[in-house]
């Protein structure tokens, strides 16, 4: 229980997908223009992580590593992710057309979001760690918690950036820095702030 809690908090703050590993940066920068869509995308990423990561955990633990097929992991993981995203898209379209309309274009793009694939690849590394290590993922429950924590971390990051960008609309930024340039600096400063959490030990 203690381990699970520690893993959860660490994956939100200290091992934040965006600020510690730069994962999911492309959609992070492209979509964070306003808080509402960011929230939708963040929720969708969390949801997809929550489904794909435990599935990939089971694949890795019971199929890939006993049969020594580790070199197939890239293809298998990405196939699972692409298939699940397609499935989620179809289900959402059928049962909640309003949510589908608001997420619309972002849903298929989640398949190529590095945060999803990155989560699975980190999980693959962390299975090998000692169970005492705070980062270790040793059970199915751990993989669910890691997925949830990483997703929430990503959601917090994108919402914060969107809020800052909404405020920045009215500021006078030097011309060549406008848009992309200043956004990078904002993310850099946020990453500096998030570094404070890296000493966090529970």
């Amino acid at each position: 229980m203690e381990h699970a809690f520690s893993l959860f908090i660490r994956s939100i703050f200290a091992d934040n997908m965006v600020f510690a590993f730069f994962l999911g940066m492309c959609s992070f920068l492209a979509v964070s223009k306003n808080v509402k869509t960011s929230l939708g995308l963040g929720a969708a990423v969390t949801f997809v992580l929550l489904i794909t990561l435990p599935i990939n955990y089971l694949l890795q633990k019971y199929i890939l590593s006993p049969m020594e097929l580790n070199y197939l992991s890239f293809i298998l993981f990405i196939a699972v992710i692409a298939a699940i995203v397609q499935l989620v898209e179809m289900i959402v379209e059928k049962y909640s057309p309003s949510l589908y309309a608001s997420l619309g274009i972002f849903l298929p793009l989640i398949a190529v979001n590095c945060a999803i694939m990155g989560g699975s690849l980190f999980m693959q590394q962390r299975i090998l760690l000692e169970p005492e290590n705070v980062k270790a993922i040793t059970s199915f429950g751990d993989s669910v918690i890691y997925a949830l924590g990483s997703g929430i971390g990503w959601l917090i990051a994108i919402c914060c950036l969107a809020a800052i960008r909404e405020k920045m609309e009215y500021n006078d930024v030097p011309k060549p820095l406008q848009g992309l340039g200043i956004t990078f600096i904002e993310v850099g400063l946020m990453a500096l702030a998030f570094m404070c959490f890296s000493g966090l030990n529970i």
Binding site: F19, A20, F21, F22, L23, G24, M25, C26, L29, A30, Y71, L72, S73, F74, I75, I78, A79, A82, A83, Q86, P108, A111, V112, N113, C114, I116, M117, G118, L121, F122, Q125, P174, K175, P176, L177, L180, G181, I182, F184, I185, V187, G188, L189, A191, L192, M195
Partner: protein, 209 residues
């Protein structure tokens, strides 16, 4: 062989005016994460360039047979197969660099440059053009990576390719006056350096934006 104007544009455009990182904003994730030192950055650039060029060629060859609805999955499988090959080769011949790059080799699969170029170029163009486009974009990506890694390694640890540039005797520990800029090694600095590159690039290419 003389290059025609269009070919030249396809190959050299991405190096400057249409750079994948600073103009198209693609492939940021790996660009930031692997630039602490020059060596992994260079290995990463070479891998990405090869994979983009080959993936472009393969997708361009089969572009007329891919059904529209599942094209993303087909593209992903092509890319994943290439990345697996590159990853196995790196593990065999450059094990320490492969360990340093860890998950970021696998993440080439979800590198937006690949999907972006496949969707925007290879799906609608001939094989040779696609090859040049892939090569150009890979090199454009490499330039930024090498520039950022150069600055970060030089100021962050005083070395280039692991060879000491700033003499040991300059350091405070040895009675000198110099100290490494620890901030350069932190992830945050990569973002700010890329911002500076964008700033520089936009101020000299005013007409493009």
């Amino acid at each position: 062989m003389a290059l025609s104007q269009k070919t030249k544009e396809t190959l050299l455009g991405p190096l400057n005016t249409n750079n994948p990182i600073v103009v198209q904003v693609l492939g940021i994730c790996s660009a930031l994460a692997v630039t602490v030192q020059l060596k992994p950055a260079l290995v990463m650039s070479i891998s990405v360039t090869i994979i983009v060029a080959l993936a472009n060629v393969i997708v361009s060859l089969i572009r007329n047979t891919i059904p529209m609805r599942i094209r993303i999955i087909v593209q992903l499988v092509v890319v994943a197969a290439l990345v697996t090959l590159v990853s196995e080769v790196l593990k065999a011949f450059a094990y320490d660099v492969a360990m340093q790059l860890s998950v970021y080799i696998g993440l080439i699969i979800t590198n937006c440059i690949l999907m972006g170029r496949l969707e925007a170029f290879a799906m609608t163009n001939k094989v040779w053009d696609s090859f040049l486009d892939g090569l150009g974009n890979g090199l454009g990506y490499s330039i930024i990576l090498v520039v950022v890694a150069f600055v970060r390694e030089l100021f962050g640890s005083g070395t280039l390719f692991g060879i000491r540039i700033i003499p040991e005797s300059w350091y405070v520990a040895n009675g000198g006056f110099y100290e490494n800029c620890g901030l350069m090694v932190m992830p945050a600095m990569a973002l700010i350096l890329v911002a500076c590159v964008i700033w520089f690039h936009r101020s000299i290419n005013k007409e493009s934006k």
